[in-house]
């Protein structure tokens, strides 16, 4: 066989016992990343809406940050899908000829709608700041200033009215958008759950609970990532203040931080309980009804994937952080550890759904193991390997760094409300 003819999936699939000849792990690490990243987007947005819609004043600071962070995460929700497509140049086709009986067909529409909501909400929140920058940079010399001013001018889209009335309208618009955004964010992600839950051929995936489980764990992971990034940035700021002798400012930053983290942690715990309860319900139901597929599912869950599901996901990713967060006398270090474990737990949940769903053959008579390509030797093994996943993980932080240059989500004075 000529060397360039390689069957998709053969490089990372190990078959055991009887597996149909065409079966491979077709959906690999990028499809694990896809619900993980959309989940983070949805969760970040829900966290920001807790302040904008439900008036949770304690969350104001982290809410502004989450809103901008969810924008940085947004393009990354589509990136894994693009990397996974065998024909990435045809990625626009679902928008050109959507076939609406398919759950994937609506992706472009839902995704675009959601992107518009996030963008316009950020615009309304930071419009005043953009206008101020245009005025402040006026007459300042230097090419960089001129370019910055041009960017801000574009960002204002010609709306320079910052009167009291105009600002009231801004605030109202931001609230309405945040309110509309919650169902859309949940839809964006619940729909990712539907993509899996509606595959009747897959015994592990097919469950009406799948979209709800996905939404709950999405919110959990989104809140955790926002809290974690927020802590990291705040600590860095306090550290810099201390180094420059500003001990009082440093203490102020720390004080505000603790307050925000306490409140956010309470929401995190609530959603975590909901997520675990639903997953347990799903598991118990499968065991109790013991349909035809249960024999092979049981051998995968309690046997081959026991470590991944019960040790890494439920114990290390759910139970341990739950205990860490709920025990009294919680310190910042303990919180950080708990948040890292929560993020890991949700990642393992995605992994166990996507990879676990392909761990057994459609024949129910054999197994497939996914061996993630570590060192890439081709475009394919890069995209569907460890480094492809790491690329996807890094992009949002780079994007946030760039966006934050123009939309300072961590300056308390910058936002309009």
């Amino acid at each position: 066989m000529p060397e360039d003819i390689i069957v998709h999936g053969i490089e990372w699939t190990v078959k055991e016992l009887f597996v149909y000849p065409n079966e491979y792990i077709y959906w690999s690490i990028q499809i694990v990343m896809y619900p993980y990243m959309t989940g983070l987007v949805a969760g970040a947005f829900v966290l920001s809406s807790l302040y904008h819609v439900f008036g949770q004043k304690q969350l104001k600071e982290i809410a502004q940050f989450s809103l901008v962070f969810s924008l940085a995460l947004l393009p990354v929700a589509a990136l894994p899908l693009l990397l996974h497509l065998q024909q990435p140049l045809r990625a626009m086709e679902p928008l050109l000829t959507p076939h609406f009986t398919s759950a994937i067909a609506a992706f472009g529409i839902v995704f675009t709608a959601y992107a518009l909501i996030v963008l316009s909400e950020i615009w309304f929140v930071y419009r005043k700041y953009f206008v101020e920058q245009v005025h402040a940079l006026k007459g300042q010399s230097g090419l960089l200033n001129a370019m910055n001013r041009l960017v801000y001018k574009v960002l204002t889209i010609g709306a320079y009215d910052v009167s009291e009335d105009a600002q009231r309208v801004d605030k109202k618009a931001a609230t309405v958008l945040a309110a509309v955004g919650i169902p859309v964010a949940c839809f964006l992600h619940g729909y990712a759950g539907f993509i899996f839950g509606s595959v009747k051929a897959n015994a592990l995936w097919m469950s009406p609970l799948m979209p709800v489980i996905f939404i709950m764990s999405a919110v959990v992971s989104g809140i955790a990532l926002c809290m974690l990034t927020y802590i990291a940035i705040r600590e860095w700021q306090a550290f810099r203040q201390r180094r420059h002798g500003g001990a009082i400012e440093a203490r102020e930053i720390k004080g505000a931080e603790t307050h925000v983290i306490d409140t956010a942690a309470r929401y995190l715990l609530g959603f975590l309980v909901a997520a675990i309860s639903l997953e347990m319900l799903d598991l118990i139901f499968r065991g109790y009804t013991a349909m035809k597929s249960w024999d092979i599912l049981r051998s995968v869950m309690y046997g081959k994937d026991f470590m991944n599901i019960f040790v890494l996901q439920y114990t290390l990713g759910n139970l341990v952080p739950f205990v860490l967060l709920i025990l009294p006398g919680r310190t910042l270090k303990r919180t950080v550890l708990a948040l890292l474990l929560v993020l890991f737990g949700v990642f393992m949940m995605r992994w166990n759904v996507v990879i676990g769903g392909q761990a057994f053959s459609l024949s129910f008579s054999g197994y497939m193991h996914y061996e993630i390509p570590i060192i890439p030797h081709s475009v394919e093994t890069f995209k569907e390997g460890l480094f492809g996943a790491l690329t996807v993980l890094t992009v949002p932080f780079v994007l946030f760094w760039i966006i934050n240059k123009f939309v300072p989500s961590l300056q308390r004075e910058a936002s309009g409300d």
Binding site: M1, I5, I6, V7, H8, G9, I10, L17, F18, Y20, P21, N22, E23, Y24, Y26, W27, L81, H84, L85, Q86, Q87, R90, A91, E93, P94, L96, T97, P98, H99, T101, S102, A103, I104, A105, F107, G158, I195, S198, V199, K200, A201, N202, K292, S361, L362, S363, F364, S365
Partner: protein, 256 residues
């Protein structure tokens, strides 16, 4: 005439939409397409597999790979043959090395040597696309690149498939795969290029034992249709509600 910026933008967006929408509502059909769109087909292709006649020679797999240009040594195939060996201890041993392309000459299955004295029953089961009446693969294709023809065969448009793999995931029979050269979804189509010209599918033509036969279910005089309608035939995995159209004679309960 005075016109504010806001009004100008409004008018511009409005007139663009007004001119684009009506145009996109029309599709231009060729004469053949128009005829095909209104005519009720008098053909419904189906397949009959007589498992009692299959000897597992694998010539059908070989013929299919050559006819449909599936790279010969690539480990994907549009059709395959499974070997089932039920031993006296009640165990079912199944294999299909290279899709059964080179026949079954070894007594070894999954590294286990089978003692001929220890066999209760053994048989071969050819598999191919079931050309379902309610195809899950067509339902889930996000771009409509896979579709059902009027005569019941499910086809893939290789120029439009985006390669997302959703159809591969949705098929309960595992007949779909990514074509290693074209990088799009691929599967058996009963050799549509042949049957629509009055020929038999490659696998049917090369089967010396009559284990594989093609039928037009809408023709009551079709001899294969007569077998399907009058004898006791079974289908694979009907619990998925896909209404498969590959019928089996002598299907064993062990068949997956």
């Amino acid at each position: 005439m005075s016109c504010s910026r806001r009004e100008f933008l409004k008018e511009a967006v409005g007139s663009t939409l007004a001119s684009v929408l009506p145009l996109s509502a029309f599709t231009f059909l060729t004469t053949e397409e128009a005829r095909a769109a209104v005519a009720d087909s008098n053909v419904r292709w189906a397949f009959l597999v007589d498992t009692t006649k299959c000897v597992g020679c694998g010539l059908c797999v070989d013929a299919c790979k050559n006819e449909n240009e599936i790279p010969y040594d690539a480990e994907v195939t549009r059709t395959w043959v499974e070997r089932y060996v039920v031993t006296k201890d009640g165990k079912t041993h199944i294999d299909s090395p290279m899709g059964g392309r080179d026949g079954f000459t070894s007594m070894e299955i999954d590294g286990e040597e089978i003692d001929p004295e220890n066999i209760d029953k053994a048989f071969f089961v050819p598999k191919l696309c079931n050309q379902c009446d309610n195809p899950a693969c067509v339902q889930v294709c996000p771009v409509g690149a896979t579709y059902q023809t009027h005569d019941g065969v499910v086809l893939v448009d290789q120029d439009w498939c985006i390669g997302c793999g959703y159809c591969i995931m949705a098929c309960p029979y595992g007949v779909r795969f990514f074509h290693p050269v074209h990088k799009v979804a691929d599967k058996c189509n009963f050799c549509y290029h042949r049957i629509s010209k009055g020929m038999e599918p490659a696998c049917v033509e090369c089967c010396s034992f009559g284990a594989r036969r093609i039928a037009n279910l809408k023709d009551p005089d079709d001899p294969v249709t007569k077998i399907i309608t009058t004898e006791r035939v079974a289908v694979l995995k009907d619990e998925y509600g896909t209404k498969p159209h590959v019928f089996y004679l002598g299907l064993d309960a062990n068949v997956r």
